[in-house]
């Protein structure tokens, strides 16, 4: 149990460190880092590299944005196996639908309840 926590912390933390270095040391914008991570996650999953990392580190690999790319790609691969070619288009969104719908719902609720504030 403790060993799992450590693995999750180290793998998840390293992914975040890469993002932080990209933001501090390059002029890549935060939005591009986000999109880049999702895309990279999907590519690594397609190449079969990310699945072993998920098995090793669990949510340390699935919670960072690479994990969203992983879910997209994995969903598409599974849907292709199940439904054939159409799965390329349906699989990704089906697998990530819970996350996307939740993001929209909670985003909307937050926008209704709170207004934007200046940073301090």
């Amino acid at each position: 149990m403790i060993w799992m926590f450590i693995k999750v912390f180290i793998v998840g933390g390293l992914i975040c460190v890469i993002g932080q270095i990209l933001m501090d040391k390059t002029n890549i914008t935060p939005a591009r880092v986000l999109v880049g991570f999702v895309t990279l996650g999907a590519i690594l999953t397609g190449l079969g590299i990310y699945e072993p990392l998920v098995k090793f580190a669990g949510s340390g690999a699935t919670v960072p944005l690479l994990g969203f790319g992983y879910t997209l790609a994995k969903g598409a691969i599974e849907a292709v196996e199940r439904d054939g070619f159409l799965g390329v288009f349906t699989g990704g969104l089906t697998a990530t639908s819970a996350g996307i719908a939740a993001a929209i719902l909670f985003g909307f609720l937050n926008a209704v309840v709170f207004s934007s504030k200046t940073k301090n």
């Binding site: 933001m23 501090d24 002029n27 935060p30 939005a31 937050n110 926008a111 934007s116 504030k117 200046t118 940073k119 301090n120």
Partner: protein, 337 residues
Amino acid sequence: MAVRAGKQTFIFENGVYYLSGASIVGKKEGQGPLGMGFDTVLEDDLWEEDSYEKAERKMFAQALSKAAEKAKLEQNNIDLIIGGDLLNQIISASFAARDFNAPFFGIYGACSNMAQSLLLGSCLINAGYCTNILCATSSHFSSAERQYRYPLEFGNQRTPTAQWTVTGAGAAVLSCVKSGVHITSATVGKIIDMGIKDGNNMGAAMAPAAADTLAAYFSDTGSKPEDFDLIVTGDLGLLGKDIAIELLEKKGYDVRPRMNDCGCMIFDQSQDVHMGGSGCGCSASVLNSHLFNSLTAGIYKKILFAATGAMLSPTSSLQGESIPSICHAICIEGAKI
């Protein structure tokens, strides 16, 4: 008689007087080292409005009113308002000017607006077209953040070279009516672009423009950095200030002992603003509080105010363009005591 020195510098021989300066800033700026000098420090930067854009134009209008009031001017004695800001279509300036029954020029020089408006105003006073001119500009952290960078809700991290857009407005009254502080000459800057593309490193982008304009001023007028008590740039920040000093050294001008930057003066390093302040309101609020007061009190006898502007747009940034920059320099002399 209008007189020009060199290629870029105007000499104002007929008397252009700086009657008053007014400044309004947000809470964070009020907590900075110059906090005591501002006319108004807002507790809440929404200022009882329902958007940051409305709050910014309210600051703009209040700065105009306050400057006119300090100069004891009635509305019908204002011959012209010259102003601009950072928001698309300069809505802060033009919307604020709705409340004033006066002719209006909207200008855009990004964060160099204060110097640009003073320069144009000085030309019109010197030429005799106007008696009293209000020059003003403003910026607001939150309205600038969401136009130029990201929505506030996004909560993005700021990079190490980033600067903090000042929430503030400054206004000045120029006049041909005699008073202590006066503007004697000014240099119109050229657009300089050294190819910096990082919108989070505007100090480095603007520093060559500042160095170019200051060098042009010294060479056009035959003056030296030692002739000034203070040479103050607009919003280069810590990094940009150092770059500008180095560039001027290479051109043969040692400005280091006299050089400061409004972006470095307005915030303390403990305020987590990274490289310092930026935005039109930065140089405008510092000039129209601390610097103007020091000139009035005789602490400074002669300063060179060189506000700098990064002429980028959100679209040009997204398309990967570099940042053209500008700087205008104004020589302001204090009361002879």
